[in-house]
């Protein structure tokens, strides 16, 4: 089983760069793996059928993705026994109550709005990711 601290599922290269920069500043960017689509992310987690899948300490998931969207990725992560207990934090530029509700109902562990102010975004990312990486130790998936 390959290990990675953080799996970032994000298609916008600017947002990837800004997220990397924000995590960098919080000393959290080591072991960052980026998937550009939901399909790529699920494939990484699944390990392409043969090899063991990626087991990050946290998944940062964008909602608006090309192909299958963030909610569907989340649903599939929760439906698979191997990935069911992965902490998933949703990153979204939308913050409509419907979106937030849908995320939590589908099993998200957290919701961060991509703030247009970089400092605030950095602070939110840092705090959340630090919690999932350093404070909360993810439970071991059942055999």
């Amino acid at each position: 089983m390959s290990t990675a601290s953080i799996l970032l599922v994000e298609d916008n290269p600017d947002d990837v760069l800004l997220a990397r920069r924000a995590l960098d500043r919080c000393d959290l960017s080591s072991g960052l793996v980026v998937a550009g689509t939901g399909e790529d992310a699920l494939e990484l987690l699944d390990g392409k059928g043969s090899a063991a899948g990626l087991r990050p300490a946290i998944v940062l998931l964008d909602l608006q993705l090309p192909g299958i969207d963030g909610i569907e990725v989340l649903r599939r992560i929760r439906a698979d026994a191997k990935t069911r207990t992965l902490p998933v934090v949703v990153l979204s530029s939308s913050r409509t109550p419907q979106d937030v509700t849908a995320c939590y109902e589908t099993g998200a562990n957290g919701f961060v709005q991509k703030d247009m102010d970089f400092d605030r975004f950095q602070a939110a990312m840092g705090a959340l990711t630090a919690f999932w990486l350093r404070v909360n130790v993810p439970p071991v998936p059942p055999p």
Binding site: N12, D14, D15, L18, R21, Q64, S93, S94, T96, K114, M116, D117, F118, D119, F121
Partner: protein, 440 residues
């Protein structure tokens, strides 16, 4: 003598009196007054009286007969030319008599109608029902009504309303047949037009809803799509300033600051646009809300946010209205923030919230300040989104706040107006439905 049957007793008495009087006149001419002669004459007189009496009676009878004939003719005319078909029907539906209108309705000359069964003019499917109707009428001896289709064979089918009453003997019944084809057609037409109208309203409503939903989706998606590039501009300008700020000449740093500020404002505009569009579709949860509480809370928050300012605030003890508590708080937040913002330059700033109940059951609430105010000639631009009456240097803002307020008030079926003397302050008057028990 036997009195005539036709003239009544008193009439007969009068007749006799008149006959006797006439004879007396004749007798006076012949003045014979002897014994036997007198008897014969008396007998003759009696006979003559009878004769005259009979003549008069006869004349009376003729006159009565003429009257009866005239009367019969009148009623026959009424019967025949009535706009309603009249029939006398036997228990089996056989036609005993019919008026002309009735014959016309059945499309058969009256002479050929007698003896035929009324049921044969009905479509086969309705015949058993009509027979039962006749039986019911005759057995219950009361007025019954039903509606049938008349199929005269030649010509168009008619819809007829039938009212029947059994004759006292219970052997036949009198039937009135009213042609209601036109009436039913008109009713059907009205129904059809109503349905058309309803369908049209529903279609238009659906179209409107669809257009609204499309617009909503458009605003949402544009806002979200706009956010990404704005976030990039804002984020990278911040990162650039952080990482390379010390290497930039002061002019470049200033440009960078302006880029970042522009992106920040753009972001705020997009957020406000989203908020504005969400107000339009939010479901209202109407309860009784006391605006005084939120007013005091918001003013306290504003005071806590700028501890260096001293603002005198006065809020009415209670301001009960009917509305959505969450939206009304957004409304108050915007109005009070405005009042707070535009009194920033006042040394003795004052914000007052007062309220009164209007005669129409609406509660009018005034939010007044003694701040900068605005030019009343521009009042029309006040509630238009993104229209600002002051430059951004003077007072910050995106120009969405009052548009938001206006939209919230209108969604509650209320209204808002603003008055100001530039330089002396402004008053915003919001009219909202008052709780019912408070109404006039």
């Amino acid at each position: 003598m036997k009195k005539g049957r036709l003239p009544s007793g008193s009439d007969a008495g009068q007749l006799r009196a008149r006959a006797e009087e006439r004879l007396r006149a004749r007798e006076e001419a012949a003045s014979l007054r002897t014994g036997e002669e007198a008897d014969a004459l008396r007998l003759l007189h009696e006979l003559q009286v009878h004769q005259v009496e009979l003549e008069l009676q006869n004349a009376e009878l003729e006159r009565t007969r003429d009257e009866l004939e005239a009367s019969l003719e009148r009623y026959t005319d009424l019967y025949d030319f009535a706009p309603v078909g009249y029939f006398t029907l036997a228990r089996d539906g056989g036609i005993y008599s019919a008026n002309l209108a009735g014959a016309d309705l059945l499309g058969v000359p009256r002479a050929r109608l007698l003896g035929r069964r009324f049921g044969t003019f009905l479509p086969p499917a309705e015949r058993a029902g009509f027979d039962a109707f006749l039986t019911r009428t005759l057995d219950d001896t009361q007025r019954e009504a039903c509606e049938v289709t008349l199929d005269p064979g030649i010509g168009a089918k008619r819809i007829a309303r039938i009212e029947a009453t059994a004759s006292p003997s219970g052997k036949d019944c009198r039937v009135a047949v009213l042609d209601v084809t036109g009436q039913r057609a008109a009713e059907a037409e009205i129904r059809r037009m109503n349905e058309g109208l309803e369908r049209m309203v529903a279609e238009r409503g659906a179209e409107l809803e669809e257009a609204n939903a499309e617009l909503e989706a458009f605003v949402q998606s544009v806002s979200h799509d706009l956010r990404a590039p704005v976030r990039a501009v804002s984020g990278f300008s911040q990162v650039l300033a952080e990482d390379f700020g010390d290497q930039l000449p002061p002019v470049a740093a200033d440009y960078l600051r302006r880029i970042h500020e522009g992106a920040r404002r753009m972001g705020a505009l997009i957020d406000d646009l989203l908020r504005l569009s969400r107000i339009g579709k939010a479901e209202l949860e109407i309860t009784t809300v006391d605006l005084a509480g939120p007013c005091r809370e918001i003013l306290a928050e504003l005071a806590a946010g700028s501890p260096d300012r001293r603002v005198e605030t006065v809020v009415a003890a209670t301001i009960p209205v009917r509305g959505d508590a969450r939206l009304l708080r957004v409304m108050l937040q915007n109005l009070l923030e405005n009042a707070w913002k535009f009194t920033a330059a006042e040394t003795a700033a004052r914000i007052e919230v007062s309220s009164r109940l209007g005669a129409d059951g609406q509660r009018e609430t005034d939010i007044s300040d003694n701040g900068a105010g605005f030019d009343m000639t521009l009042v029309g631009k006040l509630f238009v989104p993104f229209q600002r009456l002051h430059s951004a240097d003077q007072f910050a803002g995106t120009g969405v706040g009052l548009a938001l307020v206006d939209r919230i008030v209108r969604r509650h079926g209320g209204s808002i107006r603003a008055e100001s003397i530039e330089g002396s302050g402004a008053t915003f008057s919001v009219r909202l439905p008052a709780p019912r028990e408070e109404g006039p």
